[in-house]
């Protein structure tokens, strides 16, 4: 596939993430943050169900492994609430940048500690400098 087209699709994926956050915010603003979250999950679980049965690879849902593998669900249930509160009170730009920073810092800790069966990453001066830069940027952004 044409590289420029791949870049465009990746940027569209980024836009889609922000549109999703905006949709949750409009729902939260129209009704209530907690109810908006519930309604979002109700509709998305139906959409996921339809997608799964249209495109399913193998019917292996029962083989989910340990209960720990299901922890993503409860964590995710708080995300639309926090994001909607951020969008309403901080604006889309600042919330999006803080989301990116939060994602980066958590990924960094996972990399350094070698969590989720991932190999531990060796740190060097440049990486530490990048992390310090991101923390400084977050503080400046939030002023």
């Amino acid at each position: 596939m044409n590289k420029k087209l791949v870049y465009l699709y990746i940027a569209i994926a980024g836009v889609t993430a922000t549109v999703l956050n905006l949709s949750n915010t409009i729902m939260a603003d129209s009704y209530d943050v907690i109810y908006g979250n519930l309604a979002y999950y109700a509709v998305t679980v139906i959409a996921s169900f339809i997608t799964y049965f249209l495109l399913k690879e193998n019917n292996t849902l029962a083989k989910y492994g340990s209960l720990k593998n299901l922890f993503g669900g409860p964590l995710g249930a708080f995300v639309p609430i926090f994001v909607a509160l951020g969008f309403i009170n901080l604006g889309a730009f600042l919330t999006t940048m803080l989301l990116i920073t939060g994602q980066f810092l958590t990924s960094f800790i996972i990399d350094v500690k070698g969590k989720f069966d991932l190999p531990k990453m060796k740190m060097n001066k440049m990486k530490w400098f990048s992390v310090v830069l991101i923390i400084i940027g977050t503080v400046v952004m939030s002023l």
Binding site: T51, F82, I134
Partner: protein
Amino acid sequence: MYTIYLILALLAGSFIVLQRNYNMRLAKNVGVLGSNLINYAVGFFFAILIYIITAYIGITDVTYLGGLHYILILAAICGVAIVLLSNWLVPKASAITFTIFTLIGQCLSSVAFDAFVFHKEITMTNLIGAAIVICGIILYDYEKS
């Protein structure tokens, strides 16, 4: 309250990564679409719990129950599209390319939404801070690749 919202936004970012990693583990057993479905089903169960608890405490307004906004259809399409787009695009680009172009998409769209939907002004310190964060992320990913 401002600081609390800042912390919640950072925490949301943190939860997104943890969720993604748990889902990645789950996907090894049940496939990407199965993992997506289980994730949203478990999330839905917890969203109900959060709703019941907050309604009991009196934080949530229960009079809205049953009310739906047309925008939810867009949210559902976006939720599923992100999973499918990511799975399709990640193998087609390097980590740094993926990071840079996702950041461009998110930054530009959030600036547009602030300007046209929320009518919120983006300050110079916001922009300078964001530029420093983006430089840091690119620098870190560049080193990694």
